[in-house]
């Protein structure tokens, strides 16, 4: 059963477990590829994770002159191939969400690869495995569809998907609580 990464952004409690977990996946060389931001840092403690959304038409790969960013058959947009990346940093400029990280010492870009080491065998990615607040989940399309029905939004929109993102993505994002003004039961 094909599963996807699914984000319910406002669940985030800012523990940054996902950053720590990301360093531990095979091939990550102990460096994390995700972000956690304070939404309104001077006023409250709400945080949200920012992940690579694994675009269906990934700007990072389109802008890479070396074809170093490959797309896996699962749809995951992989980190730069170590022998191909020539260090131009086009991908960091192109990504609409500012995801790829660049190491100047190693002359190498690295980004979220959806923990391909795990997800190619159907194991959830590191970040989703450790997230204590159900912000990051690993779900089938059917389960995501059910979530969509469960959060019956007024405007009938899956608010953080198209047209609110920059393009179709393999990772699905949602913010049900905030928009419905309801208190959630996890």
């Amino acid at each position: 059963m094909k599963k996807r990464l699914y984000l319910e952004l406002e669940n985030c409690i800012g523990c940054r477990s996902c950053l720590a977990a990301c360093t531990q996946c095979g091939g990550h060389e102990e460096r994390n590829r995700n972000y956690v931001y304070d939404v309104n840092p001077l006023v409250n403690r709400q945080t949200m994770p920012l992940m690579c959304l694994h675009c269906e038409n990934p700007a990072c790969a389109r802008s890479c002159p070396a074809q170093a960013i490959q797309i896996h058959e699962t749809g995951a947009v992989l980190s730069a191939l170590v022998e191909k990346c020539i260090g131009c940093q086009n991908c960091t400029i192109a990504c609409p969400y500012g995801i790829p990280k660049f190491d100047t010492e190693q002359n190498l870009m690295y980004k979220c690869d959806l923990c391909i080491d795990r997800t190619k065998d159907g194991i959830p990615p590191m970040c989703a495995s450790v997230c204590p607040s159900n912000t990051l989940q690993w779900l089938t399309d059917e389960e995501i569809e059910n979530k969509k029905k469960q959060f019956n939004l007024d405007n009938g929109k899956w608010v953080t998907s198209m047209p609110y993102l920059e393009g179709e993505t393999n990772v699905k994002v949602n913010l049900p609580g905030i928009l419905q003004g309801i208190t959630k039961l996890y």
Partner: protein, 360 residues
């Protein structure tokens, strides 16, 4: 592969037309040049060594694959930009230093790990040195003569370069050059294989065809090469013809594979020097200021090039404020996205982003 296919689709027919003619042109010129060289080298084909016939066919097939891959690759919009602008900037003051660091001493691989660096120096330099020795010998650009007095002359392109004692260090190094490089490659490849089998970081996404095949091919070439020496010295040439064929076959297969798999990085890599020059030159010209915080984060030229390349791919990324997402620095672009999710303008709060790097 998917990425490539989609780009080709987008640029459509013009690309295919250019492709067909460029390919034909490059192939024609190279094969003609080879034919002329062989004609001269073999004194009007009177001295054709049929043992080397396989190499000839191999070289021609290799050229076909090479041009096929390279022309298709050079036509991709982002590649074309770096190639075109990079070549114009080839004669910067920093070029020699960058070239040595990127292509000869591999400083950046050192920063990835000493093991990985050692492994690559052994494989890379082993292969490069082997080529430097083999090609001149095969084409007769270099040969040795021996004087009566026990001295060897090394003759390159008809000129006597050096005279050395026949049992001296330099003479021994030259007789054994190919054996030494073969051992370098074997050690390097074994290090790579060991790492691919044991190291969880290297194992994560390796494939047989992409990651292991080139290593096995290099191993086969080196071992059969060494075996030839072994048979000459210790077996008085027994089994040599058969081994020579196996060696030849392995070299040809490696050559044919080269433009398609992992080894394609060898001819591609010099582009890293072009990319570095491109970044340095345009950064000196004019830097792009982030539309939100005003930080200078990339050269204006590169920013515009990326916007153009995305445009070719029908990717626009216009914000409602009227600029392109690529005109924001990375932290602001990330905060801007959080702002789109939450409805609160996070990017406008003048607070530096929190540390985003966890220590693993």
């Amino acid at each position: 592969m998917q990425a490539k296919a989609a780009v080709n689709q987008k640029t459509g027919n013009t690309l295919n037309n250019a492709f067909a003619s460029n390919f034909a042109k490059s192939m024609f010129l190279s094969v003609t040049a080879l034919a002329v060289l062989s004609f001269i080298g073999t004194r009007m084909f009177t001295h054709v060594d049929l043992n080397l016939y396989g190499y000839m066919v191999g070289t021609i097939v290799f050229l076909g694959g090479f041009f096929y891959r390279f022309i298709a690759w050079g036509e991709r919009p982002p590649t074309k930009i770096i190639l075109k602008k990079g070549l114009k900037l080839l004669f910067r003051k920093s070029t020699p230093k960058t070239s040595v660091e990127h292509l000869a001493t591999y400083n950046f691989i050192w920063n990835r790990g000493i093991y990985r660096w050692t492994q690559h120096v052994l494989i890379g330099w082993g292969c490069i040195l082997s080529c430097f020795v083999t090609f001149p010998l095969v084409f007769g650009w270099m040969y040795f003569t021996m004087d009566d007095n026990g001295y060897y002359n090394i003759i390159a392109l008809g000129m006597q370069v050096m005279t050395v004692p026949a049992d001296g260090i330099i003479a021994n190094l030259s007789y054994n050059a190919l054996n030494i490089t073969a051992v370098m490659v074997i050690v390097g490849v074994c290090m790579a294989l060991y790492r691919r089998l044991k190291n969880m970081q290297a194992r994560a996404e390796q494939k047989f065809l992409y990651d292991f095949l080139p290593l096995y091919m290099l191993l086969l070439v080196s071992i059969t090469g060494l075996a030839l020496t072994f048979m000459n010295i210790f077996l008085h040439g027994a089994g040599q013809p058969a081994m020579s064929l196996i060696h030849q076959w392995s070299v040809i297969i490696t050559l044919i594979y080269l433009p398609f798999g992992k080894l394609a990085h060898i001819p591609f890599r010099p582009m890293s020097v072009l990319a570095r020059n491109y970044r340095e030159h345009y950064a000196e010209q004019d830097m792009k200021e982030c539309k939100v915080c005003g930080d200078q984060f990339v050269s204006s030229e590169q920013s515009q090039d990326v916007v153009d390349v995305l445009g070719v791919n029908d990717i626009q990324f216009k914000t409602k404020e009227g600029h392109h997402l690529a005109e924001m620095c990375l932290p602001c672009r990330r905060k801007y996205r959080i702002a789109q999710f939450s409805g609160f303008p996070t990017h406008e709060v003048k607070v530096k982003e929190a540390n985003q790097n966890a220590k693993g």
